[in-house]
């Protein structure tokens, strides 16, 4: 299958509220994500970022519009094991070691056309070589999140979905993990959809940043980030980087005021 295009046309998603009124969580979403690109999604809380990921991965169905992943419906793509997913919390199984947590998805994901990568090597690469047999409770927050990332990468997915994976980490740990994420991505060149709250994180990582606004959840802006790769840490002190940050900040402020968002 290789890397994958994601296409969304006129997608809408409703949730029936307790008062029987339908909440429009996503409205009129048109989005094409080129194969192998790194796309960030940024927007205020409640603008439908997580809902968007759930639609792409086929966990929920759209109420209107069309979504395809490599030309398949999301459900078919999931059956074909196209996805890797990294949630906000690492979501590791407390009774399995780091290695066990990383290998378990393979047990339920035996796809004929790709072998299992050397997961131990991958873990060693992100600095978990000495922690292969530790339990999650013995790990720091950053180590847990790295395990969750390797778990997703180890599947060699066509599409990697990340829902605010670094939200709970401190600034420096976060930066270190961003770097590792980029390196892994440059090896595999999967299509990445990355949800974040952080402006600088979005600029640092992405080819393209999708800005969303809430009420109803919609796309207000798509900004291309033309910074050279590989992007190392020093890049964030450069004026170009700062300029992109300001641009994104302005765009986001609009999204916030439009949405009259809750804080």
């Amino acid at each position: 299958m290789g890397s994958a295009t994601i296409e969304m046309h006129g997608v809408r998603r409703l949730y029936e509220q307790a008062d029987l009124v339908d909440l429009i969580a996503l409205d009129d979403i048109d989005l094409t994500i080129e194969p192998g690109t790194f796309v960030s999604i940024i927007g205020p809380s409640g603008c439908g970022k997580s809902t968007l990921l759930r639609l792409i991965s086929g966990q929920e169905s759209a109420d209107a519009g069309r979504i395809t992943v490599c030309g398949l419906t999301p459900k078919e793509a999931a059956e074909a094991k196209a996805f890797g997913f990294v949630p906000q919390s690492p979501a590791l199984l407390p009774w399995l070691s780091v290695l066990g947590n990383v290998t378990l998805p393979h047990k339920v994901n035996r796809r004929s056309d790709r072998g299992r990568p050397d997961l131990e090597a991958l873990l060693r690469e992100v600095g978990l070589g000495e922690s292969l047999h530790k339990l999650p409770a013995e790990l720091s927050g950053g180590m847990k999140q790295r395990t969750a990332i390797v778990r997703a990468f180890g599947l060699r997915p066509d599409v990697l979905l990340l829902d605010e994976p670094f939200g709970a980490l401190d600034e420096f740990t976060r930066e270190a993990l961003q770097e590792q994420l980029l390196e892994l991505w440059e090896q595999t060149r999967a299509t990445v959809v990355f949800v974040t709250h952080s402006i600088s994180e979005a600029v640092r990582l992405s080819d393209k940043v999708v800005v969303m606004a809430p009420r109803p959840g919609r796309i207000t802006d798509v900004i291309d980030i033309d910074l050279p790769r590989p992007r190392h840490q020093e890049i964030i002190t450069s004026p170009e980087f700062h300029a992109y940050e300001l641009k994104l900040r302005d765009s986001l402020r609009d999204a916030f005021s439009h949405g009259e968002v809750a804080s």
Partner: protein
């Protein structure tokens, strides 16, 4: 990797600079180790318990003098126990056997039903109301009928014990099977894990802490179930329940109390045993 954080303190073999640790001198270390090892031997730990024990024993003694038809001097009870320990041991083993077999059957049935109930909504809606009704039914009242239906020997006792243990296990396991956090389920749903795989790899292991919680309840409960069955139902004259019944009909109060003490001790032992097993098995779980 340009900025690869190291492992946290204490988990690396020997970091070059450890000034953040104040390693105590060997004497200090020995003292600390002794202090920790003997923690449970310190009076602050056992003295309150022993004091209350003494107070209760004295109270018992007074009670025995005031109400001789109710309490028996502890010495007499100890006498009965030491006189014929084999008798108590044999009857204890009978009751324990009934209790454990019943518990085993109840556990397997309840666990299986919990799995079905948590996977199939139709079965849940059909079965759960009856499970609640079963749990609030005084099974003691049914025990004599069970003997008539099942005859003598272990069968009615085992069935009653299984029934007594059934509900706490069912409720706990059904809760435990739902205890997989949402994000974990999402991760495995995005790789299209089947229901069976989710059950096997996620739900069943996640339910273990709940399983142990229920075991802490039902291990002692199974003893109570077996005794109730022995008390209420005819059949062989073995088991501590029968010992209590016969002795009580013959006004041998010392034997009655001896059997009750043996039961309480055995129940505490089972409770403690489950707690210990839990700590072993669930080393990954911190409540």
């Amino acid at each position: 990797m340009s900025l690869q954080p190291g492992a946290p303190a204490g988990t690396q073999p020997a970091p070059p600079r450890r000034t953040h640790l104040l390693v105590p001198t060997p004497e200090q270390l020995a003292a600390r180790r002794l202090r920790r090892r003997t923690r449970l031997l310190r009076p602050a730990y056992w003295l309150p318990f022993v004091l209350l024990l003494v107070v209760l024993a004295i109270g018992w003694g007074i009670g025995a003098r005031q109400m001789p038809y109710l309490f028996v001097p502890l010495g007499e009870i100890a006498g009965v126990l030491s006189e014929d320990p084999a008798y108590f041991l044999q009857n204890t083993l009978v009751t324990l056997g009934e209790a454990l077999v019943g518990l085993g059957i109840g556990f397997v049935a309840a666990f299986a039903l919990a799995v079905v109930v948590s996977e199939v909504a139709v079965v849940r809606r059909a079965v759960m109301p009856f499970a609640v009704v079963l749990s609030v039914t005084p099974l003691v009242a049914i025990a004599p009928l069970l003997v008539v239906a099942l005859g003598f020997g272990m069968a009615p006792k085992v069935v009653l014990t299984a029934l007594v243990c059934f509900f706490p296990i069912l409720i706990n396991v059904a809760t435990g099977l739902r205890a997989v956090p949402g994000p974990v389920l999402e991760v495995y749903r995005t790789v299209a894990a089947s229901r069976l795989e989710v059950l096997r790899y996620l739900r069943v292991p996640a339910s273990l802490p709940y399983v142990f919680a229920s075991l802490r309840i039902v291990f002692p409960l199974s003893m109570i179930g077996a005794v109730v069955a022995e008390l209420a139902a005819a059949g062989s004259a073995d088991g501590l329940g029968s010992v209590i019944q016969v002795a009580s009909s013959q006004n041998r109060l010392a034997t009655v109390w001896a059997a009750i003490f043996v039961l309480a001790a055995l129940g505490s032992l089972l409770f403690w045993f489950v707690t210990l097993a839990e700590r072993r098995v669930l080393h990954w779980h911190q409540p």
